[in-house]
Symmetry: none
Subunit: 147 residues, 2 copies
DNA sequence: GCTGCAAATGCAACCTTGTTGCATTCTGAA
DNA sequence: TTCAGAATGCAACAAGGTTGCATTTGCAGC
């Protein structure tokens, strides 16, 4: 399985089976190059500066949405309530392990730990998904002095 | 220091040294009565329904801001990027168990199961909170035929 | 290399959440 | 009772995010 950081955007898109468009390729490249999760505004600004043809605001939202849907990107919320996106670490589904979410930068990190088994539900309840979220401050943000 | 849950809103406000106003009293009462952190919109709706005189939107923001500033309320961001507020000290109530979120009606139910222990973190990471969210359909919504 | 269709895009308008400025009202101490 | 400063209400604004719809484009099938 391809590594999401070294693989080319084109191949990634083909692998997951969604159309290869210029916008998606540029967004994936930007996310791969970023060291920190980026907000929608940051991605838009960077793409606008990099290319003669800026990407439409709404299209960017929809591209990010589609990337999150197929697992190529991760979405988190920072302390100001703004969505931040990052390239997914690996191509395998994000069901088999646990996420650490940095409440400062919005980064999502995949932990090695196995997720716990779902608890017993009351009668009539139907289980759809289990999410084990660990929150705190990542190494980079911990080292940085508080703003 | 008085218990933040049993103490009357009036006393709490006097204790921290800010003015006792009708708006603040109502907001604290609502937060104390809530079982879950409430969004600004939820508080506004509830106060509007409870009283003949609804609280101004901006005033509610400022009341919440002042309560957070003096430590009577806590502010967090939910997964949709919306601020949620809770009476200070209520958080410990929700640490000892697991939540089930109904994706249909949005209801939150507290399960009896004990939450799993937090996994080992990489070097430099700081743990703040662990959230074990189970999602699905609650008994009522499961019984009801799909819309 | 065409063709057709679903998917993706661009544009405009809109909604929600949160903030700022300013005039008015109210709290609480003197 | 008085009154200064804090709190409130109203209007307007800003940022982030979503929806509807017409147009363009990727790509599968021929």
């Amino acid at each position: 399985m391809a590594d999401l950081h070294s693989a080319s955007p084109d191949n990634l898109l083909r692998t997951v089976g969604i159309k290869v468009t210029r916008g998606r390729v540029r967004v994936i490249a930007a996310l791969q190059a970023a060291r920190q999760p980026m907000s929608h505004a940051e991605i838009g600004t960077q793409l606008g500066a990099d290319a003669a043809v800026p990407l439409d605001r709404v299209t960017l939202y929809r591209i990010l949405e589609s990337l999150v849907a197929v697992g190529l990107a991760l979405r988190a919320v920072d302390t100001r309530g703004v969505f931040r996106f990052s390239a997914a670490g690996t191509l395998h589904r994000h069901e088999g392990h646990v996420h650490f979410r940095c409440t400062d930068c919005g980064g999502v990190f995949c932990l090695k730990a196995a997720p716990p088994s779902p608890p017993k539900l009351p009668r009539g309840f139907r289980l759809a998904a289990v999410e084990f979220d660990v929150r705190g401050t990542c190494a980079v943000c911990s080292a940085r002095p508080a703003a």
